[in-house]
Amino acid sequence: MSTLLSVNDIHTYYGDSYVLQGLSIHVDEGETLGILGRNGMGKTTLINSIMGFVPPRRGAIHFRGEDITTVSSFDISKMGIGLCPQGRRVFPTLSVRENLLVAQQEHDVGYRWDFKEVYELFPRLGERAGQRAGSLSGGEQQMLAVGRALMTNPSCLIMDEPSEGLAPMIIQDIGNAIQSLKAEGLAVVLVEQNAAFAVKTVDRVCVIANGKVVHESSPQELWANEEVRKTHLGIG
């Protein structure tokens, strides 16, 4: 399998705060990668760097072999990276349908994802199509965020803490959705604090601490590795 997204030794700062301190990851086509780590370790910063929100000061990011380190966010999105951000960040004053509508992009090839497909994946969204996104429940907002990312017809979907603040039932639904996306061959980067959820879902995990990858393995190995779990994930 060929590499879809590769991040090579990036160093990212927020102002003076040195967040990513030489981090490298790669994602293969069709693969589901879990990125774990405690709060404040740089997971979201990694995503912001990939998306071009906060470009790294050093290092390079490639997508399908193209250097996207300094490309602007909207072009990165158009190249096929879909973002489902932390905290959902749906557009609250837009209706559900409009949230999906604004994300729709014109592609030369046909659309895989359109309203119909998204509503099939998340029937709840179809029921609430005319409702203002701000008035949705957390779980529905999460579905909308995923749906919105899918509307851009990405070949790589980045999900930042989709389980955050959701009830277990909903987390289950989201997990199922990810499974079905995976089955279609979509590459997924799943950033999670909720290790248990991530481990069930992904093919491979990276653990980040203090802006570096400190552990990389299959999810089963990670779950078995008491030490990594204790120092980098839980509080035990």
Binding site: M51, F53, L83, V102, T152
Partner: protein, 365 residues
């Protein structure tokens, strides 16, 4: 204090509404630009004036070569329609696009036909004598308006792209740079068109008044109200009902996230500035046939635009509608009832509203 008869109140209300219409055209752009980009655009009224001059200029050019111009307009409008079709298709449902363009075509074609002597209006207004010059007045004016608006919008885009965008969110710099542009537009207009006071021609048949229940109501005032209502409805529909509008609102809600799903917020901002300038320009052209076009008009009218957005709240379309109606009525009734207080009639309530609710009646944040 003067007392008013019932008829006077009716006429005053009509006048207030028509004044509010111009104010709305001016202030809605200001409000829009602020709402989306947080820019206080002090050059806004300069667009109002500038467009008036442009319309005047193109009106004269068109009338300079009567025989050819209508056909040229027709050609240009067909070309524009073609590109509009392509552009619209990307954003609205095909049947809506088709409907919009069909309407536009009928309007344009009617105008052009009028120019060739089609006595459409004479069928309905046989009592009004039509002079040959009147017949081409309307399409000529419309064509002039289109060109003027387009140029004003381009200027707006230019200023946004090369100046305001580079300033970031620094209010003070924005204020001073836009004042600088106000100076340049104002003095540039003076340089180009001289200091004569002009008045755009009111297109026939709008330059006479209709008599309703014994009140004579100038039709041009009705025309101003209609234009404002159409623009307000168009803005509302455009912002609330189209994909472009949704994109704009998304860019306001969360610009970073909007970029993250592939929306080029730079283009959106430029478009919004262009629309803002376009609205001011529309006001300028419509108002130019009513107020006149003369140097200094911009700084005279700017405080009123501010009054509207302050009262209505910045960045809210409904607020702009309400604000302009409030200002229109206060200005007309205040001046009629308390002529001595006409300068405070406006600013005193504004100060009070701000003191109570610093973000205006409808303001957010």
């Amino acid at each position: 204090m003067t007392t008013l008869s019932f008829t006077n109140i009716l006429v005053l209300s009509y006048n207030s509404l028509s004044y509010a219409a111009i104010l709305f055209l001016l202030a809605s752009g200001l409000s829009l630009i602020f709402g989306v980009m947080r820019i206080v655009n002090l050059a806004h009224a300069a667009f109002f004036l500038f467009a008036g001059y442009l319309a005047l200029e193109f009106y004269n050019i068109i009338f300079g070569s009567l025989s050819l111009m209508p056909r040229i307009i027709q050609l240009v409008s067909w070309t524009l329609l073609y590109f509009a079709w392509r552009g619209l298709n990307a954003y609205v449902a095909p049947r809506h696009a088709a409907l919009a363009l069909l309407l536009a075509y009928i309007v344009l074609e009617t105008l052009c036909s009028l120019a060739w002597g089609f006595r459409f209006f004479e069928l309905f207004f046989p009592h009004v004598p039509v002079k040959p010059v009147d017949r081409i007045n309307f399409p000529g004016m419309m064509a002039a308006i289109v060109v003027a608006l387009a140029i004003a919008a381009l200027c707006g885009m230019f200023i946004e792209r090369f100046f305001l965008r580079r300033l970031g969110q620094d209010t003070l710099s924005q204020v001073l740079v836009t004042i600088g542009f106000a100076f340049i537009l104002q003095d540039g207009s003076l340089y180009t068109w001289g200091g004569d006071n002009f008045m755009l021609k009111q297109p026939w048949p709008l330059n006479f008044s209709a008599v309703v229940w014994g009140l004579s109501l100038p039709q041009y005032r009705a025309f101003m109200i209609v234009i404002a209502v159409v623009v307000a409805a168009g803005l509302f529909l455009g912002i609330e009902r189209t994909r472009l509008g949704a994109i704009m609102r998304a860019a306001v809600d969360d610009p970073e996230m909007a970029r993250g799903i592939g929306i080029n917020t730079n283009v959106v901002q430029m478009a919004i500035f262009a629309i803002g300038a376009l609205l001011a320009a529309t006001g300028g052209v419509v108002g130019g046939a009513f107020f006149g076009v003369y140097p200094g008009l911009d700084f005279e009218i700017l405080p009123y635009a501010f009054a509207v957005v302050i009262i209505g709240g910045l960045g809210s379309l409904g607020g702009a509608v309400l604000g302009s109606i409030v200002v229109g009525f206060i200005e007309n009734f205040g001046t009629a009832l308390f002529p001595e207080l006409s300068y405070f009639a406006l600013f005193a309530p504004m100060a009070i509203i701000l003191a109570i609710k610093p973000t205006g009646l409808f303001g957010k944040g």
